[in-house]
C-alpha cells in the first residue's frame, strides 16, 4: 500500500465551489438599500438625523463587540449585521429624539434581543423593532413626538437646527396627534395629502415617512434577491384588502398603505431571515397574519399604528409556523392512514 506521505491537497467534501454570496455581502446590500431612506431623513430633518443614525449604529456595533469580549468568543461584528440593525433602529425613531435614546435602543437590541439568544440568526424577534417597542414603553412621550420637517427656505443653517433637541425635546414644533394615521382614524381625509405622504412631508419616524425612498430601496433588495418579494407584496396587499373589508370605504386604502411605517416594516423588518418562515407556504401564512394584525390594531386598537406590534407578534409565531409547515420531499407519497371501518360499524350496531 502506498501510504502517501505527500498528501497535500485539500480533501474537503463536495461541493468544491460556492456562490460568491456571503453574510457580509447580504448585510451590505441591506445597508445600500437603506441609503435612499437615510438621504430622505437628512433632507427632511437635517444632519441631526445622520447624527442619530451614527449613534445607533455605533452603539449596536459596540454592544455586539462587548458581548463577544465578555463571552471571550470570536468577534462577529465583521458580518455587518449590527450595522443593519443600527440603521433600521435609527430610522424607526422620531426625527428629534435626545441623543441617549438610540444608545439605549442599540444596546437593548443587540444585547437583549440578539446576543443573549445566540447571536445572528438566533434572535426570536427583529432586534430593531423590539427595541423600538421597548423605547416606546420607556419614553412614550418622546417616542410619539414627531417634529415637523425643516424649512430649507430659511437657509442652509436649518440643516443643523435640530441639534438643539439633543438633550431636551422642549420647544419642539411638533405634529403630535396629527400624523396621517390619526387623521385616517378620525376619518378626516381633507387633511391628508397623498403626494406629501408619498414623498415624506408628514409626521412620523425619520425613516418611515418617505414611501418613495423606501420603495427604491425595497426594489433593490428584491432585484438583488436579498429578500423574498412575497413577504412585502402579500403584507402590503393584505393590509389593503383587510382595510377595504373592515372599513368598506376605498378612501381608507391608499393612506393606510403609505402611512405608519407599513412599507418600511414590510420590506426591511418583516423580511428579517431569522424571524420569517423558511418555507414558501409558511411565508404566505406569515405575511397574511401580518396584514390582518396590522389592520386590526390600526382600526380597533388604541394606538394609531400597528406595524411594530404586528411584526413582533408574528415573529414570535414563526417557530410555530415552521414547526407545522415543512417542505414535502420531491415525489412525496402520503402515507396511507390505517382505517378502522370495522370497529366503527360494530359500535354502531
Amino acid at each position: 500500500m502506498i501510504m502517501s506521505d505527500n498528501i497535500k491537497f485539500s480533501v474537503s467534501s463536495s461541493p468544491h465551489i460556492t456562490s460568491g454570496n456571503s453574510t457580509r455581502r447580504i448585510m451590505l446590500d441591506v445597508v445600500i438599500a437603506l441609503i435612499p431612506a437615510m438621504i430622505a431623513a437628512v433632507l427632511l430633518y437635517g444632519f441631526y438625523s445622520l447624527f442619530l443614525i451614527a449613534l445607533s449604529v455605533g452603539s449596536c456595533v459596540l454592544a455586539e463587540f462587548l458581548f463577544n469580549k465578555i463571552k471571550k468568543e470570536e468577534t462577529t461584528v465583521g458580518d455587518c449585521s449590527a450595522v443593519v440593525s443600527g440603521v433600521i433602529l435609527a430610522l424607526n425613531l422620531p426625527p428629534a429624539v435626545p441623543f441617549y435614546v438610540p444608545i439605549f435602543g442599540g444596546f437593548f437590541a443587540m444585547m437583549i434581543v440578539k446576543m443573549l439568544f445566540g447571536g445572528l440568526g438566533r434572535n426570536f424577534a427583529n432586534p430593531a423593532i423590539t427595541a423600538r417597542i421597548f423605547l416606546m414603553l420607556a419614553w412614550t412621550g418622546i417616542m410619539t413626538k414627531f417634529v415637523k420637517p425643516i424649512d430649507l427656505s430659511k437657509g442652509f443653517s436649518e440643516m443643523f437646527s435640530y441639534f438643539k433637541f439633543a438633550f431636551t425635546t422642549n420647544g419642539m414644533d411638533v405634529v403630535t396627534g396629527a400624523t396621517p394615521l390619526s387623521y385616517i382614524k378620525a376619518g378626516a381625509f381633507e387633511h391628508i395629502d397623498l403626494t406629501d405622504m408619498f414623498l415624506g412631508r408628514i409626521g412620523g419616524s425619520m425613516g418611515e415617512v418617505s414611501a418613495l425612498a423606501l420603495l427604491i430601496g425595497g426594489a433593490y433588495l428584491v432585484v438583488r434577491k436579498v429578500i423574498d418579494w412575497k413577504i412585502p407584496a402579500i403584507y402590503i396587499g393584505s393590509v389593503a384588502l383587510f382595510t377595504l373589508a373592515f372599513k368598506g370605504n376605498i378612501d381608507y386604502v391608499l393612506p393606510s398603505l403609505l402611512g405608519g411605517g407599513l412599507i418600511f416594516g414590510a420590506f426591511f423588518m418583516a423580511t428579517d431571515y431569522a424571524t420569517s418562515p423558511n418555507t414558501p407556504i409558511g411565508v404566505v401564512v406569515y405575511a397574511l397574519g401580518l396584514g390582518l394584525l396590522t389592520t386590526l390594531f390600526r382600526i380597533y386598537g388604541s394606538m394609531d399604528e400597528g406595524v411594530s406590534f404586528a411584526i413582533l407578534i408574528m415573529n414570535i409565531l414563526v417557530p410555530l409556523i415552521d414547526k407545522f409547515i415543512i417542505r414535502r420531499p420531491f415525489g412525496y407519497v402520503p402515507k396511507k392512514r390505517e382505517r378502522k371501518p370495522k370497529k366503527i360499524k360494530e359500535e354502531t350496531k
Binding site: S10, S13, Y273, G331
Partner: protein, 433 residues
C-alpha cells in the same frame, strides 16, 4: 418554453474545454487497474503475476449480479497486485500491468442488427459496462427492470461545471452514440427514447437532431440549470413524471443512461470491445493543456497532470477533483488511477476553488429554496448536530441526492451536504425511516 426541473442553481459553467476535440492520451509504461470501478461487489481477480495479457483480456470477473467485469486496457505483463487509495479515498486492490506499447487487442464477436434483447443485455454485462456519468452503477442491472418500462432517457445535460467529454462525444461520435441509444432502446424493448441536452450545447442539439430523428429518438433541449443531470430531475424535466420519494426511475416506467454509457454500449455490441477506455475532461486552472482525452483505464493522475500541466506547478494546486466541482471527490494524492467512472479530473487552483470560513447560519433558507429534492438542509444540519436523527429524516435527509446546491448557495458556507450525508448514514445504521 424550454423544459427544465424545479429549483436548483446556476453555477458558472466554466466549460474551458468545450472546443477541444477528443485526442488519444499517451498511455504510460505502467498502468494500475483497480478491480472495483463500480458500485457493488469488487470483481474477483482472474490473472496471476507474470501472465501475458492483451487489451481486452479479462483481469477480474464480476462477483454477483451487481458487479462488473474488469478488463486490461493495454497489452503486456501482469507485474503485481497492489492496494492503492482510490479517488474516493478507499483502499482498493489494483492489478499492475507493464505496458508493452503494442496495444494488441482481443475483442468479442460483434453482434449484428437483429440481435435479441437478451443477447444485448448479456453482452453489455459481459463487457463490464457501468454508468459512466460518475455513479458507475452496472448498466445490465438497469436494463433488467423488475417493473414495466416505456421510456428511455439519455442524459446529455452535462450540468456539472467544467466537464465537456459528453459534449465532445455527441459532436465527434454522434452516429455511434445514437446507434448506442438505439441498441439500448432494443435492450429495454421501449418505443420512446429521449436525449436531454442543455441548450448551452446548441451545436450538439443541431447536429444530433437529424441523426436521432431517423432512429425514432427525440432530442429534448433543456434550459441550463444544475442539477439537470440528476436522474429524478432529468425525468421530471423531460416527461413531467415524478419518481416517488425513495423510489427508482422504473417506478415511473423510465430508465436513464448517460451519453458515454450509450457510446460504450455501441462499442461493446457493434465492435465487440469491452470497456477499458473512456473520454475524459482534464481541466482547471492548474493545467495549461487541458482538454478532452481518450484515456485507458489505470493511468495515474500524476501522469495526467505531468502530461497536461505545461508551465503550471504542482505547488499551486489546492484541490484535485475526480469528477465535477459540484459532486466530484477531492483526491488526497496523485496516486489514484483513472477508471470507468472518471468523467473528469479537475486540477484546481485558487482561481477555481476557495476555502472559505464557516460562519453562523442566518436562517435565510436559501438552501431550502435551492434544494431540487425538497429537503430542508438547514434543519437537517441542526438535527444532526444535536443527534436527532428522527428530526433529520423528518426534514427530508433521506431524499438528499448530495448535489450540493444547498452548500453552493449558503452565504454562511455551512457544510450542509456533509450533514445530510451523515444523517443518511446514521439513519441507515439506526434504522430510522
Amino acid at each position: 418554453m424550454i423544459k427544465t426541473f424545479r429549483r436548483g442553481i446556476h453555477p458558472s459553467s466554466n466549460k474551458l474545454t468545450s472546443d477541444s476535440s477528443l485526442t488519444i492520451f499517451p498511455t504510460p509504461r505502467i498502468v494500475r487497474i483497480p478491480i472495483s470501478q463500480h458500485i457493488g461487489a469488487p470483481a474477483e481477480i482472474k490473472v496471476n503475476i507474470g501472465d501475458a495479457v492483451l487489451a481486452g483480456s479479462l483481469l477480474a470477473e464480476a462477483k454477483g449480479f451487481v458487479s462488473a467485469n474488469i478488463y486490461s486496457s493495454v497489452s503486456g505483463t501482469v507485474k503485481k497486485f497492489e492496494s492503492i487509495v482510490n479517488a474516493q479515498g478507499n483502499s482498493v486492490m489494483h492489478v499492475v500491468i507493464e505496458n508493452d506499447g503494442k496495444y494488441d487487442a482481443v475483442n468479442f464477436e460483434p453482434l449484428d442488427k437483429d440481435a435479441s434483447k437478451e443477447e444485448i443485455v448479456a453482452r453489455i454485462r459481459l463487457a463490464g459496462i457501468v454508468g459512466m456519468g460518475g455513479a458507475t452503477f452496472p448498466t445490465h442491472v438497469k436494463l433488467s427492470p423488475s417493473k414495466p418500462v416505456d421510456t428511455l432517457i439519455i442524459n446529455g445535460a452535462e450540468c456539472e461545471p467544467y466537464i465537456t467529454c459528453d459534449h465532445r462525444i455527441m459532436l465527434e461520435r454522434g452516429e455511434e452514440f445514437v446507434e448506442g441509444v438505439a441498441i439500448l432502446k432494443t435492450a429495454l424493448g421501449v418505443e420512446r427514447a429521449f436525449i436531454g441536452i442543455e441548450t448551452n450545447k446548441k451545436d450538439a442539439i443541431e447536429y444530433l437532431s437529424n441523426i436521432a430523428k431517423e432512429r425514432g429518438i427525440e432530442i429534448v433541449p433543456l434550459r441550463p440549470k444544475y442539477p439537470q443531470g440528476a436522474e429524478k430531475q432529468l425525468i421530471y424535466a423531460v416527461t413531467k413524471r415524478k419518481v416517488p420519494a425513495g423510489g427508482l426511475p422504473m417506478d415511473v416506467g423510465v430508465v436513464v443512461d448517460n451519453v458515454h454509457t450509450a457510446y460504450s454500449v455501441f462499442r461493446a455490441v457493434r465492435l465487440g470491445e469491452p470497456l477499458y477506455m473512456r473520454a475524459m475532461t482534464v481541466s482547471g486552472h492548474g493545467v495549461e493543456n487541458g482538454g478532452n482525452f481518450l484515456v485507458r483505464n489505470g493511468v495515474s493522475y500524476r501522469e495526467i497532470f505531468e502530461h497536461t500541466k505545461g508551465n503550471k506547478k504542482e505547488e499551486d494546486l489546492i484541490k484535485v477533483i475526480s469528477g465535477g466541482p459540484m459532486m466530484g471527490f477531492a483526491v488526497s494524492s496523485l496516486d489514484a488511477s483513472t477508471t470507468k467512472g472518471t468523467s473528469s479530473i479537475l486540477f484546481a487552483t485558487k482561481e477555481d476553488v476557495k476555502t472559505e470560513k464557516i460562519t453562523a447560519c442566518i436562517n435565510c433558507a436559501r438552501c431550502v429554496g435551492a434544494c431540487p429534492m425538497g429537503v430542508m438542509p438547514m434543519y437537517v444540519e441542526r438535527s444532526v448536530d444535536i443527534g436527532d436523527i428522527k428530526g433529520a429524516v423528518k426534514y427530508g435527509a433521506n431524499n438528499c441526492i448530495e448535489c450540493g446546491s444547498c452548500a453552493y448557495v449558503c452565504p454562511a458556507k455551512r457544510p450542509l451536504v456533509t450533514s445530510c450525508r451523515l444523517a443518511k448514514k446514521l439513519a441507515r445504521e439506526k434504522g430510522v425511516k
